[in-house]
């Protein structure tokens, strides 16, 4: 009964005429413990097919992500450019601000006030220059003494 059927399928199997379902049946039969004595020789064959199917690759597949790298690179580059432009604007704003302040400083609308302020400023300058000259005065003394001693 059962055995007849298996022998029948086995015959078809070697003719290459079995279906997947029949082949599964054969595999199941030969992996069971009660295989008929005269069919014992086929056991390793079907056992081998089942065993080989267990093999698996453990290896990771390295996928090339060149395109993504390029995208990231361009994003990074644009960030750098934006930062650069931003920094440049900030810096230039800082340098222009004091210039504006300086030009506004010391501007007078009233001419009299302007005159007074100019005189004050010039007086301050000449005072400071006189202080400078006073301290150099004694050099002239040296010069005179030198001329007395080394008569030319």
């Amino acid at each position: 009964m059962e055995l007849d059927k298996i022998e029948n399928i086995l015959e078809k199997y070697f003719q290459g005429e079995t279906t997947i379902a029949e082949e599964k049946e054969l595999k199941e039969y030969f992996s069971s413990p009660n295989v008929a004595q005269h069919l014992e020789q086929y056991k390793p064959m079907f056992g081998y097919f089942s065993q080989v199917k267990q093999q698996k690759t453990t290896q990771e597949i390295p996928l090339q992500t060149k395109k993504r790298n390029v995208a990231w690179l361009s994003i990074a580059a644009s960030v750098v450019v934006i930062l650069g432009i931003g920094a440049f604007y900030l810096a230039s704003q800082k340098t222009t601000a004091p210039v504006v302040a300086q030009s506004e400083l010391g501007t007078y609308d009233n001419p009299e006030e302007a005159l007074a302020a100019t005189q004050k400023a010039l007086a301050l300058l000449s005072n400071n220059v006189n202080v400078g000259i006073e301290s150099v005065q004694y050099i002239q003394e040296y010069e005179q003494s030198k001329n007395k001693i080394f008569k030319q």
């Binding site: 070697f14 003719q15 290459g16 020789q41 080989v52 093999q55 698996k56 597949i61 390295p62 090339q64």
Partner: protein, 169 residues
């Protein structure tokens, strides 16, 4: 298609590709290289993958062609270093009755078959592909596949019977 989608796409047949490569190339390392090669090729083609209605069949065909190319280039060299070339026949005689070893004979017997038959045995008896799928992968008609498969199975049986009786005597 991004990486995650691609991995999901190839996962169902990644191991089948590996096993077919191992069947033909024998060494695990070479089979892994071949698997990687095939997957990278698929990945590079990822824009056009939708055009194929059966990517698994395409992958298996690529694997088959790649491995046959590898074998051909290896044979072009003077030395053919294949696993079954330097197996020692003597020590296995006393181990023959062990069960795990009888599975190894089957492997050796299959390895001695012509490559075309090895591919068919792998696809049908191990991976259990239907005949129409095999026809797509190996580019043969179904009748020719049945005939070749029958020949391969009979050859295995013949060698098995021989080895079996040697084991007993």
């Amino acid at each position: 298609m991004n990486q995650v989608a691609f991995i999901e796409l190839i996962n169902p047949f990644k191991d089948k590709v590996f096993r077919l490569a191992k069947r033909l190339l024998t060494s695990t390392e070479e089979a892994e290289d071949a698997t990687q090669e095939v997957m990278v090729k698929l990945w590079n083609k990822k824009e056009n993958l939708d055009a194929y209605n059966n990517i698994e069949a395409v992958a298996m065909t690529m694997t088959k062609n790649y491995c046959l190319d590898q074998l051909k280039s290896k044979r072009a060299g003077n030395l053919k270093i294949v696993h079954n070339n330097y197996t020692d026949r003597e020590p296995q005689l006393d181990k023959k009755l062990e069960d795990s070893n009888s599975l190894e004979w089957v492997e050796k017997i299959i390895n001695q078959l012509p490559e075309q038959l090895q591919i068919l045995i792998q696809l049908r008896d191990v991976e259990q592909y239907e005949f129409d799928e095999i026809a797509k992968i190996v580019n043969m008609n179904e009748t020719a596949i049945r005939v070749a498969l029958s020949r391969a199975r009979k050859k295995i049986r013949e060698s098995m019977v021989n080895t079996h009786s040697y084991g007993i005597r």
